[in-house]
Amino acid sequence: MIDWRKSGHGAVVSRAGLLSDGTGLVVPSRRNSAHARLESTVSTQFDFVWQLLRRFGLSRSDADDATQQVFMILARRLPSIEPGRERAFLYGTARRVFANARRGLRRRREADEGSAPDALSETDLPDDLVEQGRARTLLDTLLGELAEPLRRVLVLAEVEQLSVPEIAALEGIPLGTASSRLRRAREVFRELLAQARDRNPFDSGEK
């Protein structure tokens, strides 16, 4: 706990140390560094969390909301999270938040174009972006057909581009299990993709 003493000038100082910008203002250094840590964590992990939630199966706007939830949970618990363990905490939280979201919402993948951030209609977008949107729609359909444990490791490997040891650590499974699960996920995904291509040879705007 921070030990507060009132100085003779009515300012508040912490035993942990003064932090001054040269203007004579002192600020509680503990709070300052806690805020810095939170901001830095949000800054570095935001995309990681959002992309997880999105590819686990949430629409853009649901992923937006869920991401916000995840970081608010982190914010409240940060003091008890060991430095360096933020991503692990975020991953576990994202999984839980996703599970809750999925229980509460219908998955709206078919309604979500996965198009450019400014959400213009397809006719306004340059071709490249339309194609990317279609690619994502196909991807989400295929991922949705995978069992969740397989989907998760595949997303971690292919979207987040994590190594097998990193995946094993986040999932809390042995290295060998992670490795075989990922192999299996890739096999099944490939199979699903082949089937999809056979059904729709001109889908996804492939050149």
């Binding site: 508040v12 203007t23 300052n32 805020h35 935001f46 916000q68 690619a135 292919e158």
Partner: protein, 227 residues
């Protein structure tokens, strides 16, 4: 379909996934709400005595920020006056040399205090994400209001003063838009080509290409479509 085709298609699908990002707006509100959540949590742990100068003024400033996104310099000016540092009389020459109206807003007064600059400080901490977001939001608003010159000023400040690192790509695209609006199309085209060359994997490449103009050769385009 051959295995290679499958691999290529698979790669393409995941590339498209990696290119998808939330908007800055979402990042912004995520940051704000998590900082607010942390403050609420913190408040319950800290003794009541802490409702002194720094905290009360800081909360007032933070609540202000929470209620409005920073979208204009007038708000920036008022926000600055709410900061604890402004409540403390100072004649210290190391206080930021810029005018209060020029000071970009940050969500955390204490964080800003810790990083307020002086040329003699050994290490100027990299720009906080909040500062960068606030500055880019101001630039975006200026542009929306038709002030492309003002937007470019703010973007220059982003480059030089904050030495922003988090949102460089966004800043570049915003600069392209501002240059185009200001009629400086040749500069926009040159900057756009540079961006495309240096950031081939960026999610913003398509938007940058849009500005690269008709001078852009076919070797830079996948589809050969008009800009």
């Amino acid at each position: 379909m051959t295995p290679n085709d499958l691999d290529e298609l698979s790669k393409k699908l995941f590339d498209a996934a990696r290119n998808e990002r939330a908007t800055n707006d979402v990042l912004s509100r995520t940051l704000r709400s998590s900082l607010a959540a942390a403050r609420t949590e913190n408040r319950s742990r800290v003794p009541v005595i802490v409702t002194a100068v720094a905290f009360a003024a800081g909360v007032a400033g933070l609540v202000w920020f929470g209620e409005r996104s920073v979208t204009s310099t007038s708000i920036v000016r008022e926000k600055v006056s709410g900061r604890p540092a402004a409540a403390t009389p100072t004649s210290n020459p190391r206080e930021t040399p810029r005018q209060p109206s020029d000071v970009p807003t940050a969500t955390i007064p204490s964080k800003r205090v810790a990083t307020s600059r002086s040329s003699s400080s050994t290490e100027r901490a990299p720009a906080s994400l909040s500062e960068e977001l606030a500055l880019l939001e101001s630039a975006r608003t200026a542009l929306a209001n038709g002030s492309s010159e003002r937007a470019l000023e703010l973007l220059d400040r982003y480059e030089r003063s904050l030495r922003g690192t988090h949102l460089r790509a966004e800043a570049s695209i915003l600069r392209l838009e501002a240059l185009a609006k200001a009629g400086r199309n040749v500069e926009a085209a040159a900057l756009a080509r540079e961006f495309v060359n240096e950031n081939p994997g960026s999610p913003f490449v398509d938007r940058a290409r849009f500005f690269a103009g008709g001078e852009e050769g076919p070797e830079h385009r996948d589809s050969g479509r008009a800009p």
